[in-house]
Symmetry: C2
Subunit: 379 residues, 2 copies
């Protein structure tokens, strides 16, 4: 790991960051300048002034998104601030280009105030065809995303929520096929009620899962529990309908599916043994999962997924965000709807022709995935 | 001209804008991903968290500027809004890359309010190594630039002011050599007291010109004239010390230098004839100058410059802005000072080895200029 740390520092330093901005047009002589700069450039300006939608014809925004962060929840590093989060944002932008040929530009916000974040993004949104919110902490990420979706006419997508939720749902669709269970009848436990946990829960409910319990650091969430924020309160009306109280050990007993977006090693082998037959374990804490795959397997898990590239079944957002935005940009949709997210999950699941326990989702380098997702969004 | 209009529209449409964002690093396999994305990317993040200045080592900001507009004064088109101004901003960014290998990204602001503009730029400034303000109307451009220079620790430069002023001063330096006059003794008339006119005047005063008169749409500016905004008032203390009143015809009589940043055809041949011997005429209104070069020449002008590429001596900002930022970024200066601007003007003038009336400044495609300017800034 020390070796990787040094390699990463050296590589970042030698390239001086990961992005560059290039001209798509030639500017070699006076004729080029007359066409792409003065005086010719006045013409596309006038056309856009007459009809704002023409900005998609005459500028780069039609294939351009912003990756915006306030740095309040960067990777597992926490609130390190936006400037320190920029290597992640640049990496994300590089992945957008690689996997979907979408141009993406990172914006580090010098504020962590909800209203200032919203105002700033609204003031620069015309430069882009879409906004990817990144590494903004819960619960403010919910308010920021909701407001921007309502107030802007371009797609806004908080990847930590929905990217994770879509890949997770895709993995579950194939997992259920393998173990022969139905979404309406399985019992699901989601450990972690931050941005990802709540988004996974919501998307699963929309897709048709009926029995989900969510846990935060204080244990099982139930309707009427004291101190719930608005977002947990909303979820409490639709989950844990028996209003059970308790810790993770209580929650997972007889459950069919465990989804962890929480902390290392919180799921014990005994807990897995207490689950129903053929349990499905998505242990996505990074870099150390809620239970190590070998331990889960020994305890009887039928299917195991993690967030890591060195185990099978990596639940990685990169399977989704490039294609989602590619589709949203090319269809020029004003919003990314729940139906689009479900379509994307189904499409992603369908790219694995014969799901098996060690292969419920495609490899992150599968070059066909982004287009499959993009097409599903357009439908 | 209709032909050029159509060519420009078609070319902009076929390329779908002029910019793209590329990854400088390879992301072909799990090893690449581990270095440039998770988990390796956490290392540069932590380093920047410990020491913010390391953002220049580990992210792209060290070679990256924002070209920011509110679209309130775009080319000669006026207040068409930032979105409609984006083809100009993208063109400018493409020129930064071509002439100085500086990465530049265009930001269209969805506000024209001074305080909101300042707040928004401050909130995104950490993403960049410098800010090029563009096509923001006077007088608010002065306040915006001043505040941002004071409140940010990266260089902020309003090109419409200072780029123009620097190229203009370079041209004047060589013009004075040709006609054998001294900056301390010549009488100068600047027609136009917007962003460019005021900046030209200020830089000329700093450089050592002593006798300058400035005119706005109401005629000559003099100390105590009613209705002057703060910026014209400030200038009125240092110019037109005789407090002459009058129109352009009154002002240019016996003047040595006319600088026009105003409107087409306002300088007549008779006015040129009324100037002192060997008059220098910079008629920079675009696309139609204050006087056509052939008319000025016939009336006795010794040297004529315009803003146009189809006449000799094109006063074009592109001679300056790429190199200024290249130098400012590579020396990582927090501000672009008056001395740097004067150095840049002198350096630009020096690139013409034997100035003559038809060649007072270099061609815009001269590949050596940007580095000469960049080096002058570093000194």
């Amino acid at each position: 790991m020390d070796d990787l740390k040094n390699k990463s520092l050296e590589a970042h330093k030698s390239f001086k960051g990961k992005l560059e901005i290039n001209s798509k047009v030639s500017l070699e002589n006076i004729d080029d300048m007359s066409i792409f700069y003065t005086p010719g450039v006045a013409e596309p300006c006038k056309e856009i002034f007459e009809d704002e939608s023409k900005s998609y014809d005459y500028t780069s925004r039609g294939n351009l998104i912003a990756v915006v962060t306030d740095g309040s929840a960067v990777l597992g590093l926490g609130n390190i601030g936006a400037l320190a989060g920029m290597p992640v944002m640049e990496g994300k932008c590089a992945l957008f280009k690689k996997f979907a040929d979408v141009d993406a530009f990172p914006i580090a916000l010098n504020t962590q105030d909800t209203e200032e974040i919203i105002a700033t993004i609204k003031n620069i949104a015309d430069s882009f065809g879409g906004i990817n919110l990144e590494d903004i902490s819960a619960p403010k990420c919910f308010e920021i995303e909701k407001r921007l979706i309502d107030e802007l006419s371009i797609p806004v997508f908080h990847d930590d929520q929905h990217g994770t939720a879509i890949v997770c749902l895709a993995g579950l669709i194939n997992s259920l096929k393998i173990v022969g269970k139905e979404k309406e009848r399985v019992r699901v436990v989601i450990n972690g009620a931050g941005a990802a946990g709540i988004a996974i829960c919501k998307l699963m409910l929309e897709y048709g899962f009926k029995n989900i319990s969510l846990l935060d650091s204080k244990g099982m969430i139930f309707e009427g529990r004291e101190g719930l924020n608005d977002y947990k309160k909303e979820i409490s009306h639709k989950t844990n309908l028996e209003k059970k109280e308790g810790e993770l050990g209580d929650a997972v007993m007889d459950a069919d599916i465990f989804i962890g977006v929480s902390a290392p090693n919180v799921l014990t082998a005994d807990m897995v043994r207490s689950m129903s037959a053929d349990p499905i374990i998505f242990a996505m804490a990074n870099p150390d999962p809620e239970i190590m795959p070998e331990d889960a397997k020994e305890a009887g898990a039928a299917i195991i997924a993690t967030g890591r590239s060195d185990f099978p079944n990596q639940i990685n957002n990169v399977l989704v965000f490039p294609g989602i935005f590619k589709g949203a940009l090319s269809a020029r949709v004003p919003k990314i709807t729940t139906q689009m997210k479900i379509n994307a999950a189904k499409a992603l699941a369908s790219t694995v022709s014969s799901p098996r326990p060690e292969k419920i989702i495609p490899d992150v380098f599968d070059p066909s995935v982004a287009d499959v997702i993009a097409n599903s969004v357009k439908e």
